[in-house]
Symmetry: D2
Subunit: 260 residues, 4 copies
Amino acid sequence: ENGFVLLAGPCAIESEERCLRVGEAVKEITDRLDIPYVFKSSYDKANRSSIESYRGPGLEDGLKTLEKVKQELDLPVLSDVHTIEEAKKAADVLDIMQIPAFLSRQTDLVTAVGATGAVVNVKKGQFLAPWDIDNVVEKIESTGNGKILLTERGVSFGYNNLVVDMRSLPRMRQTGYPVVFDATHSVQLPGGSGDKSAGEREYVPYLTRAAIGAGIDALFMEVHDQPKEALCDGPNMVRIDELENILRQAKAIDKIVKEG
Amino acid sequence: ENGFVLLAGPCAIESEERCLRVGEAVKEITDRLDIPYVFKSSYDKANRSSIESYRGPGLEDGLKTLEKVKQELDLPVLSDVHTIEEAKKAADVLDIMQIPAFLSRQTDLVTAVGATGAVVNVKKGQFLAPWDIDNVVEKIESTGNGKILLTERGVSFGYNNLVVDMRSLPRMRQTGYPVVFDATHSVQLPGGSGDKSAGEREYVPYLTRAAIGAGIDALFMEVHDQPKEALCDGPNMVRIDELENILRQAKAIDKIVKEG
Amino acid sequence: ENGFVLLAGPCAIESEERCLRVGEAVKEITDRLDIPYVFKSSYDKANRSSIESYRGPGLEDGLKTLEKVKQELDLPVLSDVHTIEEAKKAADVLDIMQIPAFLSRQTDLVTAVGATGAVVNVKKGQFLAPWDIDNVVEKIESTGNGKILLTERGVSFGYNNLVVDMRSLPRMRQTGYPVVFDATHSVQLPGGSGDKSAGEREYVPYLTRAAIGAGIDALFMEVHDQPKEALCDGPNMVRIDELENILRQAKAIDKIVKEG
Amino acid sequence: ENGFVLLAGPCAIESEERCLRVGEAVKEITDRLDIPYVFKSSYDKANRSSIESYRGPGLEDGLKTLEKVKQELDLPVLSDVHTIEEAKKAADVLDIMQIPAFLSRQTDLVTAVGATGAVVNVKKGQFLAPWDIDNVVEKIESTGNGKILLTERGVSFGYNNLVVDMRSLPRMRQTGYPVVFDATHSVQLPGGSGDKSAGEREYVPYLTRAAIGAGIDALFMEVHDQPKEALCDGPNMVRIDELENILRQAKAIDKIVKEG
């Protein structure tokens, strides 16, 4: 068995400059630790709590930025897609196309993304059981695309709270597809601050080690150089200078788990 | 205070003939009971559990059928919309445009529907707290549209189960907008039958009376002449011949509640 | 079918004087509304959140007070029992012996209470499904006692919150035993104020009407003349001067429901 | 920081012979792996789902068996206590006295166990938030006893299911007391088989590694030589011949976590 892949970057594209800066900093760390790295950032946050929230630069400008990151830093890139139209355009740039959790049951989107032939990363909806993902997998497979990643990002637990059921990781791996753990959205408290989500960044290292301990194929993590200034998801993003220690431990645990 | 409105019809448009038949049968009952009635049916079920599930006739044919029902039966009509494009086209026919629960946080869809000027019925996502709806309301209001309905259809409760928190009804009414109780989706067991949702139709009368007791403005209910043959949501739809008794009790309870 | 019974009184016995005052005030109301009334108060609150919390006068003094209420006001009385020893002593005074929710799975307590031959009211644990009560019923029936009441008081829903699943009421009635709705504990936010539980008294009328709408046999409600001064459960107790209106509506709804 | 302690043994005392056999087999493994080991078995299962379920030999005979294990195998022993009377008698034999999850809010029991001066292991109730344990800790501390262990064994998640919120482990460690992860009760499906609990033994290794990854002080695990024949909790107990591998991985992960 192989080690794990890191999918990481700032929640939203705030500027080309910041994307390059964060991407480069993460790349330095993952190079040192020998962890394959995919840059992640969103060109549009289509489901922010409030109408006032920052959404990103939009599809066109966002793809340009991701293209730039891809070439300057020589990294594969991942972003979310929200509509059939976006899927077609984004396929030219993105290596991994992500289906947001709230949209994980939208058949047309799921199959449109599948049909691009790109790697598809589906975030399991907060309202889905681990085994419900089997139907989503079949929708993607129906397009002939078998490059599928399945992401755990927490499940609804009462109001304004999520819980990570670690049983979901081995259960989703039974599909035969790689399973990703989203360590930063899993510590969100959705809607927990009225017109925005709160988050408990302090639990990211614990949940990361737990998920790696349970056994996963990739780790998803939103990182930022200054989370407190971030335009999106600040309360749950990880500061870059905390990243290396988290990954170092994760890598050591992963090795033990995969050696059996 | 006024009585309640009924939003009802077959889950999906199966045929024009069935829509007319169901609509007429319900109209007869609601006329007798003096309950305002809006016909509901979906032209597309865009988030079925499985890729194999029946989805409906699609936008164009579906709108034609709804237009027909509207004119032949002289009823306002309601259907769900899933994309910005659909919203524009559907606005010509629909009196009430419904935003599906899974899509209740999608800003672009919510504002596109709001911008049509039609009455907007938002189903509260299974992953939202009652107070989270305040942000959705603001998104719609930002379009200048103040014709808003808010629907309770159950909240995630463990896996493959929903629970109706009756506190959500008075809490959502605090927004000042009318609140709808969706009696048939609330008894769904989502994904409860593997590749489709199960449902507990037998609880519909109990939950209906409970919600009316708590106090609501409208009742949403999927009904069918032969639920066991239905192409969608059969296990939770109400048989037409059971409808009158449910509504009669609901109306009597509603009167007591609203007289205070 | 008959109307519903009211089980009501102050959470804990604070003083004989208060018990008599509250009991008399409630009796006046229930006499006026023709609702059978059972006085409820606890001699010991054995599972308060904090070691500092008020617990009550204890078994012996408490039973004396309840005896007094019973005779002076000519009312049947109910209180919780927590141990086998208490069960034996309390049986001399109590008409209904209540098993607290947290203790609803303790076999020895359940059977000891059953063996007294008194009416047993089991509160369904916050951790039990409606159908789990069937096993509790069998434990009581094994003592030859068939005078059983089953109470819904909310089920765990995330942290520090409860939700009432109204489906549980008809489901528990399938046992053939009368079902009670506990309207005031159902609005508790357990542990919601750190070293004590919070509560949302404002939802009591809504949930009461909802439960009566779903269909129940008895209503349980903690009432107080000055909830803000109460030594226990103040945030969720109902003020006596609000009681009559709640009961009047409940009675009218109950009639509709039971006439079918 | 030190490694973790193992608390393990058959769910219920089925016979002296079996206790000695299981204890010896586990001791052999833990000696080999250099893990401190405490023998666990219950003399009474006081809250079985059904009145028909096996409960154990009772206090007196059970304590004799535990005394025997203690001396023959030179192991400290742990068992649950359910009443004040039991607490006093059991204190002569038990090194660790465990408070069952359902009873974790019963003030008299908690303080009686505290007052014995033994090490107290409180299982966090399935209905408690991680921070609710602070009040339980204060109750024990009020007796002057500061030898406290806090156990996570899953929290209610819908009906007949539990979920382990790994955030609870670091949160409970903030009390300053050692935290235990109960790997076998955490995979129970309470009441999941009608008149008994079901369980998903296959998830024990995953949850164990996850909890060790998050960081704990002790691991609790029910083990049996023939779980399928066990008189209690068979579906979630671990077979002894699977134990060594689980512990070996756990120990390696624990080392990484605690070295930071």
